[in-house]
Structure formats: structure tokens, C-alpha cells
């Protein structure tokens, strides 16, 4: 293996390296220039209200997968027919944190990546608003929404006046159980039963898993302090290290449940509709569930806010919402949908997972943020994430 070009000048490489570095530095300087602080401060602190106006043009909506009825005459197509707006409906939200991670650099520059609406969970919506990334909503432009929204959703603690968010769908976090293999699991504490070692998963979503563990131990998440959160995380850490908890998952626990790799899991109420295993049922934990909503928000820099507002009003028509509810089977935020569905399928109208009554959710808590200052919250988040990745 000889190479005919023998190296006679090894000492000459250094200048070339220096040249390369100089070029890089030059490019870098040319590219960045001004600011010396990255992140934060967002699209400017000033409040901006989404403008109403004539409804036409194009509208891009980002939503979670399988969060919309399907087919040629689905809600999106119906909206297009009714308004003449061309909708680009993108299912690119798989996870709040990941979606925020990829959009943040754009939001920071006051851009929305062409999107006019995206759907994110309560806490994420609040963080985006606090960072100055979202537009505010004028209720006068959203009459259908506020005529029909369920009273219980009108004034959530993260956005008491519904200034920047409109619920898309709500849901409950509780336990998903294989009733044949683990009939006796009724409380989140039963998931820690050594009998089910390695056959249990929990959610990697901190705001679902930790409050449920606290509730099972008699701590009210609304009243919990930092130490309560950290104690619950310690309990999880112990169970993770002993192999009691098999995995921390996102939506993929559905697969483990279907295949019976797992007999019980912390899971979301709407998922029973997609698990192809008749023995798997969602159960309300004895100590109650966690309630949350995914919300439509309008980012700063969003094009065509008029069409976005029209869309929000449109999906709050009970008949339209009934189509969505029938397909996604989460908790609908629109009043009057049960009556529409009763005519189509009485069983759905009586389904407590879609139309839970007050008694059913009596012991449930709204999904909380960790308490305290930014630093305290950061500390809790870090403890939870370190627990998931198994760091010391």
C-alpha cells in the first residue's frame, strides 16, 4: 500500500489550519455582529393583540398527531369550504418541550415560522406567554368561543382571563390498567407493588407523574411545596433504580400496553380508543386524577390572525366540535356537544372519559407547575430529569 505522493513537508500544515480558523472567525463575526446575550426577552415585551379582519387567504395550524377527525370532509375541509381560507394543517407537535425547543429561536426573533396557531399544554402556553412570544386575544373577536366554552374552563389559574389561550381539548391523567393481568390496581401507589416489578411504566411528563405520586401519598398538589415535589421524585428514583418502573415514556406506553409488556401505566384518558387490547382500560385513581388542557395560541409574528380567530370560533360550534370529539375521544371543552353526540351514538354521550361529570372528577387536581421562584422550579425540573436519565 504505497502512496506515490510522499509527505515531504509535514511542517507546512500549521499555516493552513490558522487560515481555516481565520476564515471561520471572519464568517462568524460577519454573521452575528451585534448582541451579546442569547435567548430570553423574546419578541419584545410589548403586548400585542391578535387583529381581526376579513377572513380569507391562507392559514397554517400546528397541532398534535391524531388530534383531528380524518377523511375528505373533516373539520379542516369544512372550514375551508365555509370560509374560502386555504388551511395548511401540520401535525408537528409531538412533545411540548421538543416543539418549543425547535421553535424558540424563531419566536425569539418575533417569527412564527409561518404558523398562525399552535396547540400546546397549559404550562407551555404560560411559559411562552411569559417570555413574550404570544399575542393576546380580544374576547369580542371570539364570541362563539366564549358563548360555548365550558364554565369550568373559563378561568384556569394559568390564564385566569383567557387572555392568550383557548382550550383545544382537555384530558385526564390517571392509570391505564390491563384488567386481566393486574385487576387489583386502583391507586397510583399500587404501581409500586413489588408484585408488578418491571411491568409498570410512568410518564416522562413531570407535571403528570409527580403530582399523581404526591396525591397518592396524601399531598394536595395545589398546596405542595418544593420539598413535597422533591420527596415524590425521590420515591420515583428509588423505584426506577430498583427496576420497579420499567421505563419513563411519552405516548409510546400505548405500544407496551397493547403488547402486554406492561400491565399498568400512568396514562392519558383518550388513549383507550387507540389501544387495540380489549383488556386495557383507563381507570380513575382512587385518589383522583390530574386535569389538563391543550390550548390554541397565536404566536407573535403570526400571519393572517383574522383567519386564526375565525378558526377558533369555528371549532367551538357544537356540531363541528362533535365531529372532533367523536374521533379524538378526549374531554371536549365545548358545551352542548353531548346533545349533538347523543343523537349519533348515545354510548359516547354517556362516556365519562369524554363528558366527565363533577362527581367523577371530584378528587382531581389541575395540572400544577412546581411551586416557588424560577430557581426553585429549575431545581425541581433538574431533579426530575436527572432521575429519568439516572444521573447522580
Amino acid at each position: 500500500m504505497s502512496n506515490s505522493f510522499e509527505n515531504t513537508s509535514a511542517h507546512r500544515r500549521r499555516p493552513a489550519l490558522a487560515l481555516l480558523l481565520a476564515l471561520v472567525a471572519m464568517l462568524a463575526l460577519a454573521a452575528c455582529g451585534d448582541d451579546d446575550t442569547v435567548g430570553g426577552g423574546g419578541g419584545g415585551g410589548e403586548a400585542e393583540v391578535a387583529k381581526a379582519g376579513p377572513v380569507r387567504g391562507e392559514l397554517t395550524i400546528s397541532n398534535w398527531p391524531a388530534y383531528m377527525d380524518t377523511g375528505k370532509e373533516n373539520t379542516v375541509a369544512e372550514f375551508e369550504d365555509a370560509t374560502g381560507v386555504k388551511v395548511d394543517y401540520v401535525e408537528d407537535v409531538n412533545d411540548n418541550a421538543e416543539f418549543f425547543g425547535k421553535l424558540r429561536p424563531q419566536l425569539e426573533r418575533g417569527q412564527s415560522g409561518g404558523r398562525s396557531i399552535f396547540v400546546v399544554t397549559d404550562w407551555m402556553a404560560k411559559q411562552m406567554y411569559d417570555l413574550g412570544y404570544l399575542q393576546e386575544l380580544d374576547h369580542a373577536d371570539l364570541t362563539t368561543v366564549f358563548d360555548n366554552i365550558l364554565p369550568s374552563l373559563e378561568s384556569p389559574s394559568f390564564d385566569p382571563e383567557r387572555k392568550f389561550s383557548v382550550p383545544w381539548q382537555s384530558g385526564m391523567t390517571g392509570i391505564m390498567v390491563n384488567e386481566k393481568l393486574a385487576p387489583d390496581i386502583r391507586s397510583v401507589n399500587d404501581l409500586f407493588d413489588p408484585k408488578y416489578k418491571g411491568k409498570v411504566t410512568m410518564l416522562s411528563e413531570m407535571r403528570d407523574t409527580v403530582p399523581l405520586v404526591m396525591k397518592a401519598d396524601g399531598v394536595d398538589p395545589a398546596e405542595a411545596d418544593k420539598q413535597d415535589w422533591l420527596d415524590a421524585i425521590d420515591k420515583l428514583r428509588e423505584a426506577a433504580e430498583s427496576g420497579q418502573i420499567r421505563r419513563f415514556t411519552g405516548n409510546d406506553y400505548n405500544q407496551d400496553m397493547t403488547n402486554e409488556n406492561v400491565v399498568a401505566a400512568i396514562g392519558w384518558s383518550g388513549d383507550t380508543s387507540i389501544i387495540e387490547n380489549p383488556d386495557v382500560k383507563w381507570r380513575m385513581p382512587a385518589e383522583g386524577c390530574i386535569l389538563w388542557s391543550d390550548n390554541m395560541v397565536i404566536p407573535k409574528g403570526a400571519p393572517n390572525t383574522a383567519a386564526a380567530l375565525a378558526w377558533m370560533n369555528f371549532v367551538y360550534r357544537p356540531r363541528v366540535q362533535a365531529d372532533i370529539a367523536e374521533y379524538v375521544q378526549y374531554v371536549t371543552p365545548v358545551a352542548g356537544v353531548d346533545e349533538v353526540l347523543r343523537q349519533r351514538d348515545p354510548e359516547l354521550a354517556d362516556n365519562q372519559l369524554i363528558f366527565p361529570d363533577e362527581q367523577f372528577t371530584a378528587d382531581c387536581s389541575t395540572q400544577p407547575d412546581p411551586p416557588g421562584s424560577e430557581e426553585d422550579q429549575q431545581e425541581v425540573t433538574e431533579a426530575f430529569q436527572d432521575m429519568i436519565t439516572g444521573q447522580g
Binding site: F5, A66, K102, G114, I274, E276
Partner: protein, 271 residues
């Protein structure tokens, strides 16, 4: 002992290779099998619920699957062509020539492979925004070529090292121009390395999720689409299309080879 044992010894390699092929094809066999499975909702798992041909009959019925698949094939094809061309040239420079900055170039080629995808994805995103590029197919293309180049260089280079140059020298002695020598001698000899590199570049691109996720804007590639739906149940059409893609690739290559063989035979009989 004797006969069977000897047969086994003689064919050990082929048996082992057959097992390896089976292993590599195992998932595609499962996927193919379950493209015939009856199911009401999307597939989350691979439990058998009954035989049906419906999904094959309606292979292209799900438009979002089709669009994502077409986007991905275009992207992977384009990125494969460009990265293979650029990477092959780089490999030639690095193996055949002595020049300043060679070590820096080598480092430049290893580093992208050693960088976690999420870091590349996030860093590129900030960069594209600074460059003022609109996110979409074009940014995906720039990114995919970028992360494919290194892999192409390494594969082509492994073919180039220890390359017999006597044929090229002979051609040059006979007065062939450098470009002619390159086209008629070097390229054909390099071909297996280039094909291997191109295959790798295609697979890398059509499989990429993390980097694409950051830089796709609202363009949806196949992995991005799959990642989304896999959480809530994959449409069975996806199994059908995956099986189809596999079969089309294999059949197309078989046809090309068969054609070549015929051409060779005709040439032989004519000569």
C-alpha cells in the same frame, strides 16, 4: 460425520451469510406481513387481527403518507447525488494528493460524525435564521448533504487506499487526457465504493429525524410524519408503502442487472 460435516464446513460461510441476511430482513418481513393485517385503527403494535388485502388495494389512499414519502424520496435522492459527488472529490483529494491543510480537512470530516444530532440540529437552526433562509425543503437539503458528506468520504476513501494505479498510468502513457483517464479508468474502478457510499447517503437522509425536526419548518418528511403518527397508531398504508419501497428497490436493481447481462451476452455473441 464425514459427508454432512464436510458439506457444512464448505458452506459454513454461506450459511452464516444467509442467517445474517435473514436477520437484516427480519423487520421488513414483519412489516410486510402486517401490511395484510386487518385493523380498525392505526397500527400501534403488530398483533395479528385478520387477513385483508384492503390496504394494498388502497395503498395510496392516505395522502399525508404519500406526500411525506414523496418529499423524503426527493430529498434523499437529491442529497445523495450532491453529497456523493462532493464527498468523492474530497476523498480523491485526501488520498491522492499531498497539500497543506490536510490534517485540518481530516478533522473537518470526522467532527460532524462525532457531534450529537440534536446539537447539529439546534446549531444549524440558529444559523439558518441568521443567514435569513426560510425553513423548508431547501434547509433540509443543505443539512442532509452536510451530514452525509463525511460518511461518503470515509467509504470512498476505504476503496481508494491501496488502489492499483498502474492502469491509470498506462492510460496516461498512451496519451489519454486526465479527464478521459478519470472517466474511463478511475471512475469504473471506484464504482463499488461510490455505490456503497451513495446507498449510505440515501439511507442516512431518508432515516433522519432529529436534525430534520429542527430545520424542516412546516415541510413533512417521512420520518417526521412517522414519528408523529407512531405515537397514536401508524396507518397500515405505511407498512404497505415501506414494503413497496423495499420491493421496488430490489426489483429495479434486478432488472438493471438482467438488462446488463443480456447486453453483455449480445455483445459477446456479436463479437
Amino acid at each position: 460425520m464425514s459427508g454432512a460435516w464436510r458439506w457444512l464446513r464448505r458452506n459454513a460461510l454461506l450459511l452464516y451469510a444467509a442467517l445474517a441476511v435473514l436477520y437484516m430482513l427480519a423487520p421488513i418481513i414483519v412489516i410486510g406481513l402486517f401490511s395484510f393485517d386487518q385493523t380498525s385503527t392505526g397500527k400501534l403494535d403488530y398483533r395479528w387481527s385478520g387477513l385483508t388485502l384492503d390496504y394494498w388495494r388502497e395503498a395510496f389512499a392516505d395522502e399525508s403518507v404519500n406526500e411525506a414519502m414523496i418529499t423524503s424520496i426527493q430529498l434523499a435522492g437529491l442529497s445523495m447525488l450532491v453529497s456523493t459527488a462532493i464527498g468523492t472529490l474530497m476523498a480523491l483529494a485526501l488520498v491522492r494528493h499531498e497539500f497543506r491543510g490536510r490534517k485540518a480537512s481530516n478533522l473537518l470530516i470526522v467532527l460532524p460524525m462525532a457531534t450529537p444530532e440534536i446539537v447539529i440540529g439546534a446549531a444549524l437552526l440558529s444559523m439558518f435564521l441568521i443567514y435569513g433562509l426560510e425553513l423548508g425543503f431547501q434547509t433540509l437539503f443543505l443539512a442532509h448533504v452536510m451530514f452525509s458528506i463525511s460518511f461518503v468520504v470515509v467509504v470512498v476513501r476505504s476503496r481508494l487506499i491501496g488502489f492499483d494505479r498502474s492502469l491509470e498510468e498506462a492510460a496516461a502513457d498512451l496519451g489519454a487526457r486526465p479527464l478521459t483517464t478519470f472517466r474511463t479508468i478511475t471512475l469504473p474502478l471506484l464504482a463499488p465504493g461510490i455505490v456503497a457510499a451513495a446507498l449510505l447517503a440515501f439511507a442516512l437522509s431518508i432515516d433522519d429525524f432529529v436534525i430534520s425536526n429542527f430545520n424542516s419548518g412546516t415541510t413533512e418528511t417521512f420520518p417526521l410524519y412517522i414519528f408523529g403518527v407512531s405515537l397514536r397508531g401508524i396507518p397500515v398504508q405505511v407498512n404497505v408503502l415501506a414494503t413497496l419501497l423495499f420491493m421496488v428497490t430490489v426489483v429495479a436493481i434486478a432488472l438493471v442487472l438482467w438488462q446488463q447481462r443480456r447486453a453483455e451476452k449480445m455483445a459477446a455473441s456479436a463479437g
